[in-house]
């Protein structure tokens, strides 16, 4: 149907990086697989991904329901890599006194729970203190290190 030049033109259009800078689907208020997230720490990979307009996507949620709630661990695809992260602020409605944010925020961590960055530049909900303490076990990963690099609690 198409001649060769038209096909070429279409393929060149598709390969343009500019076409990837916007998304047609609305933001997912619930963290499920393929939900777009926002990195809020100053890790190199996170900063670059956000600056290029290629936000990481959740590819797995480490809980039974597969819906990410505040403090849950997720696996994200960021700049062609797989990284683990913790949800530190959600867009969806929360219980009374738990803050609700305008974006779905994550902080990247490694397998032992150490954050990849050294600073978090948005406020962090205080409820994370309790949640992350509960999730930390003596011999497993220590997630409370994340609280140490937070700049402000809300």
């Amino acid at each position: 149907m198409f001649n060769k030049s038209a096909l070429l033109r279409i393929s060149s259009l598709l390969s343009q990086p500019a076409s990837k800078n916007f998304h047609l689907s609305s933001t997912c208020n619930e963290i499920r697989k393929l939900a777009r997230l926002r990195v809020v720490d100053n890790s190199e990979i996170g900063k670059r991904a956000m600056a290029e307009g290629k936000p990481p996507r959740c590819i797995h949620v480490y809980n039974k329901t597969e819906v990410g709630l505040i403090g849950d661990r997720v696996l994200v695809a960021i700049k062609g890599e797989k990284k683990k992260a913790i949800l530190v602020g959600l867009k969806q409605n929360q219980k009374p006194k738990v803050p609700k944010f305008d974006s779905n925020n994550i902080v990247l961590i490694d397998d032992s729970g150490t954050p990849l960055g050294t600073r978090i530049h948005v406020p962090i909900p205080t409820i994370l203190r309790t949640i992350l303490k509960e999730r930390t076990h003596a011999k497993g990963a220590d997630y409370t290190k994340l609280l140490g690099i937070a700049s402000k609690f809300v």
């Binding site: 009374p96 006194k97 803050p99 609700k100 809300v154």
Partner: protein, 286 residues
Amino acid sequence: MLSTTPRLALSRQLKNFRRFATATTTPAEQPVKDKSDTRKNVLEYRQIYPEFLPDPKIEFRNPIREKLERSDMIARRANVDIPEFYVGSVLAVTSADRHSPGKLHRFVGICIKREGCGLRANFLLRNVIDHQGVEILYDMYDPTIKGIEVLRLEKRLDNELLYLRDALPEYSTFDSNMEIEILPEGAPVPVNEIKVKLKPRPWLDRWERKNLKGVQDLELPQRFYDRAKELETPWEKYDLMKQYMRTVPEEEQVEIFSEVQTHLHRSGAAQKLKRKRTFVKPTKLA
């Protein structure tokens, strides 16, 4: 004992019939005057204390539960000062936080929604901290709340300011060290007629269909306004039955507010005193 009162009444009746007649009318007049007072106050009270009115939905009504809730609310108001505020006022809420023991958590923000009745009354505060929009929902009668301060008492043009989520961040940015702005005594609550500029679409809601007064021109193609016009229901304001089902009748409102009036009046007077002099030097006792 029993025979004395009728005899006394009889003797009084014999003594001065006219006086007796006036004596019966004056107690009757007194409540009438009170009632007209409360009726006047009801208009004021239902603005200031909307949570005292029950949910008008028939299936949720339960007079005994409502009465118990009201007494609980008054008991709570005796302990913590819950001031008059409206959607659009800037509040500071201080609460005890289970997650950071020994510390009080203070959050400053603009009230963008207020709903619920009875003990379930709540309000939503919004602020932008470090370029990040944050919202916290507070239950008004939550026992962990240590105090609610009204930093700026004002109203806005709309009943809900949820569109601030889609507005430019400067409209919902408030300094956490903001000082209390004191209104001159006896002045009505000012209405802030600011028109908010929204960010370009996509939005969280179809604001063009909400008939908002506090936003600037939305700059949408004409088809959006056409569709909004198709979907609006201008006849609803003439639907008396719908209005009746949505509201609590005035007689009931008078009844409710006359029941709680004395307590509210006391707390209101206390508030005014507090507004006048915020710091009272502690005196040494004994």
